[in-house]
Each structure stands twice: as C-alpha cells, then as structure tokens.
C-alpha cells in the first residue's frame, strides 16, 4: 500500500485533467499565429484563462500564464521593482524560497528589506506590518498560506493597513498553497498581485499564473516577444495551460465540501498522533490553518530518518518543504516560530490531498508510533528531555 501525504510538495494529476490534456495534445498551433491552427490553440488558452481568472475572482485580462509559481513570484516582485525608484520592500521571515530568496537577492543589490517576524503560530501581525511601512516602501509580499505549517495569513487586514497608509504601495501575495484550499478572491483580499501554480491543485507541473490588478505597472523580467503581454514571452505551453484550467474548474466545484472532508481526515490524523505518541508538538496555527496540513515535531528524533522509515512502509511525507530538504539547515519557518534546533530538525509535514481516505490515515496511525519509538530508542537525546 502506498499512502501519499505530500500534497504541499505536489499533487497527482486529476483524471479529468489528464483527459483534458490528452484531448488537447493534438492541438499544436502557435497561439500567436493567425491561421486556423493558431486559433485553435488560442481558443484553448483563452478558455483556460477564463477558468483560472474566475477561480481567483479577477478578470481574464488581469491574468498572465507563467512557467510555475516561482516564476510568477519573480515576475511580480522583480518586474514591479523595475518600474519604480523606491527602494524599501517588506516580506515575512517565513516565505517560500521563491519569494524569500528574491528578497535576499534584492537586499544584496541595493534594496532595503524589512523581514517581518511572525508569532508562535507563524502569523504576521498586521499592526507590526503597519509600523514597518515607509514613504519609500515600494512593495509588500506576504504569502496567503504557508507551505510548511499551513498557517493562513490575515491578508485582508494586511491589505487594509497598507491602503490606510498609502494607495501606491503594491501588495503581492504568494497564494500557491492557499489556492484551492482556502477562500481566494483577489478583490475581497485586496491584493494587487497574486501567484498561483497548477501542480498544487492536481494540475500539471511547470504551469503557473500571475494576477496583476489593472493599473499596476510591471516591467518584463524576461525579455522577448509579446506573449502574455510581454511579461512572460515564449510560445505558450497550451496543453499544460489547458490542464491548469481544468484543474481550477474541478477544484472550485464543491471546494468547501472537499476541504471539510480533508480537514476531518487531517484532524483524525492529528488526534491519533496526540493520543498515541508522547512528547510531540503540533506546529502552525490551531485554527487559521490550511485544512490539509499537519506539521508535527517529534521530540528527540530527526526528520529525515522518520521520513525514510515511513517511506519503507509505503508512506510519503516530507520534512519542511521539498525545496529546503536538499539543505542541512533546520527549516527557517520552524526556527521563526520559535522552535529549538532539535525540534525543528525532528519535524514532519503531513499534507493531505483530495484523494486520501480514512483507511489510509488509519494505516499511517498504525505504523507511526512504532517508528518513532524505534528511533527514540536509538537517540542519545531521548533519555533526558521533555517536549518543549
């Protein structure tokens, strides 16, 4: 039996998406071409744009397709800054590397950066943000929901604080994890730019989108042709984009019910772990959290060994984000919410998806306690400490 609980890393393609992509596989024309073949591709592209923009609550001409979430983040942040002289930018300490490393890069290249602290649950305090705003603040980027711990940020409140201070500061949010798992509406949330990615909602890899509110001016980061308003030049990945459109359509249908179901399974997993394993800590916000995410620190054991043992039992999970597990440092997110090094190293992220079921959660709960106790028997730390 294989149980896949790493949906924040990526998700399996939905059957309907596979079908949509198979159906569009024969449509090969360049969407920019005037002839019939080009038009067929253009139609697919615009149909998908309609679907994705309706999922975000924006109009289709406010949406460009990109190569992935990372690309959307880069185009939004770097593209906007290319058109302004203001040199102060604000983000949080727990952003995904697709945002955080862009800020670090900018920091090294003449920008002044404020990295906002988060509370013990990983939430940004809108008042703290309000206090960081300045006359020369160009842009704020705060994620909608965190990929490692699932905490949902008060995006609307943050937007209100920014607007109270100035109408000119641009507010970007990375909603790659929030999209499909929490209510998304660019207008209600009050954001100027939003990044999303297809492969987190049972769509294909290598396709993303960026909402850019009408009136927000951004300059190209990639230089080339006129595709996607010149902001993402290059012949469009029509098949992937068609798959993205389909993925959004099915994610939006009955989203509330699906998330309730996922939330119930997540809670069952959480309660089961609390009941059967001592010395653990649940990371992330207890309530304002993605319904599919559960991040747990198992005291005195190291994350990678837990993952390897679960993998041997057929269970796929990860430590922190897949992108940072190539490094040796403890997760910047877990350190930012105040975990000590050992607890941060001993954390595991379970992220559920629409295809998980009760039986799978039961199976995980059957295997996990034995694995933790086996690793604790091996650990030099286990004899001394209590869970903090």
């Amino acid at each position: 039996m294989r149980v896949y609980l790493d949906n924040n890393a990526t998700t399996p393609l939905a059957e309907e998406v596979k079908k949509e992509m198979a159906d569009s596989a024969g449509i090969f024309g360049n969407a920019s071409s005037m002839h019939k073949d080009g038009m067929l591709s253009r139609n697919l592209l615009e149909k998908a744009r309609q679907k994705v923009s309706s999922g975000l609550g924006c109009s289709p001409d406010e949406l460009i397709f990109t190569g992935c979430g990372t690309e959307s983040d880069n185009i939004a942040i770097q593209g906007f800054l290319r058109g302004t002289d203001k040199k102060h930018i604000i983000t949080s300490k727990i952003e995904h590397p697709a945002v955080l490393n862009v800020f670090k890069y900018l920091h090294n290249n003449g920008y002044e950066v404020t990295y906002l602290d988060v509370d013990e649950y990983g939430a940004v305090d809108p008042e703290l943000l309000a206090g960081a705003l300045r006359k020369d603040t160009a842009l704020v980027s705060i994620m909608t929901a965190n990929n490692e711990i699932g905490t949902i940020q008060p995006v609307k409140e943050i937007s209100e604080r920014i607007r109270e201070y100035s109408k000119d500061i641009v507010f970007h949010t990375d909603a790659v994890q929030g999209f499909g798992k929490t209510d998304i509406d660019v207008k209600k949330m009050g954001v100027d730019m939003m990044s999303v990615s297809a492969h987190k909602i049972n769509g294909p890899k290598g396709v993303g989108a960026l909402f850019i509110r009408k009136g927000v001016k951004i300059k190209p980061v990639f230089i080339g042709g006129h595709h996607e308003r010149g902001l993402r030049p290059g012949t469009e990945n029509v098949q992937g984009i068609a798959g993205f459109g389909k993925a959004v359509e099915i994610a939006m249908a009955g989203m509330k019910e699906k998330n309730e179901k996922t939330g119930r399974l997540r809670d069952k997993l959480k309660e089961g772990i609390i009941r059967s394993i001592p010395n653990i800590k649940i990371n992330g916000h207890p309530e304002t959290v993605l319904p599919n995410t559960l991040n747990v620190s198992f005291r005195d054991v190291e994350g990678e060994s837990i993952i390897m043992m679960l993998d041997m039992e057929g269970i796929s999970v990860s430590t922190g984000s897949a992108c940072t597990s190539g490094t040796l440092e403890a997760s910047h997110v877990l350190l930012s919410i105040g975990l000590d090094h050992a607890s941060a190293q001993g954390s595991v992220r379970f992220s559920l998806g629409v295809y998980n079921n009760e039986q799978e959660i039961g199976y995980v709960l059957e295997k996990l306690p034995g694995i933790i106790s086996r690793l604790r028997d091996m650990s030099p730390l286990a004899k001394k400490s209590e869970c903090k």
Binding site: V301, E302, E304, M308, T327, A330, D377, M378
Partner: protein
C-alpha cells in the same frame, strides 16, 4: 531525497549495535555543527582490543548508517588500528554517500576518536 546506496539502506533498516554500554571503557559524544545532529559512541576495551562498540544517534539516515558501520568496523580492532579509521573508510564501507551527506560520516570518525581518547584518559587517571 538523496539517493542512498543499498548498503546504507541496509544499515539504516537494521542498524547494528544500537544502544549504550553501561560499563563502557570509553565514551565519545560529538555534535555536527553543520546540521546539529548528535552521536554517542561507547567502547569496551580489553588488552588493547576493542571488544564491543555501541552507538546512539540523533541524525539523518546517513548518520545512522555511518554509526552502525563504524561500530562494525572497530570491533576486534586494536586501538592503534581503530584510531586510523577515517570517515573515508566509513564512506567506502557504505559504498559511498551522496556529496551533501559526506559530512555525516565525519560524525562517526570523531565520535570514535573521542571514545578512544576518553579511554586513554581514564587509563591515565588510575
């Protein structure tokens, strides 16, 4: 995740010599400054020969496999021979480690050196 060799997986799945030796003759405890992982190595020495070795490790898969391997390598060796066991020898015995995980085997080498040093210090005291 990194690709580990079959040998590493074998030692991770069934690590040899896990535990403490309550009346050990030497104990080495080291931490890895890069990742914060920790290893403890216990040795039992008789007439200059390492009769038994055990470990406890808080660490990644490579650290656990290296711990298991180093205890296997030192058993039956004289102290002089054991002192010469480097992390390279551990890596070789494990059929290699991924580049980012090579430092994990250093933990094993250092724990062993410390345990031998501890043994020698205890001999001086008596």
């Amino acid at each position: 995740m990194e690709q580990y060799s079959e040998k590493v997986m074998e030692h991770f799945r069934n690590p040899k010599n896990v535990g403490e030796i309550p009346d050990a003759d030497g104990v080495g405890r080291v931490g890895n400054p890069t990742c914060g992982d920790i290893m403890e190595l216990y040795i039992k020495v008789d007439k200059g020969i390492i009769k038994d070795a055990r470990f406890k490790t808080f660490g990644c898969g490579a650290a656990i496999a290296s711990s298991s391997m180093v205890t296997e390598l030192v058993k039956g060796k004289t102290l002089e021979e054991a002192e010469k066991i480097s992390n390279k020898a551990v890596i070789e015995a494990l059929d290699g480690l991924p580049p980012v995980k090579r430092h994990c085997s250093v933990l094993a080498e250092e724990a062993l050196k410390k345990a031998i040093e501890d043994y020698k210090n205890r001999q001086k005291d008596v």
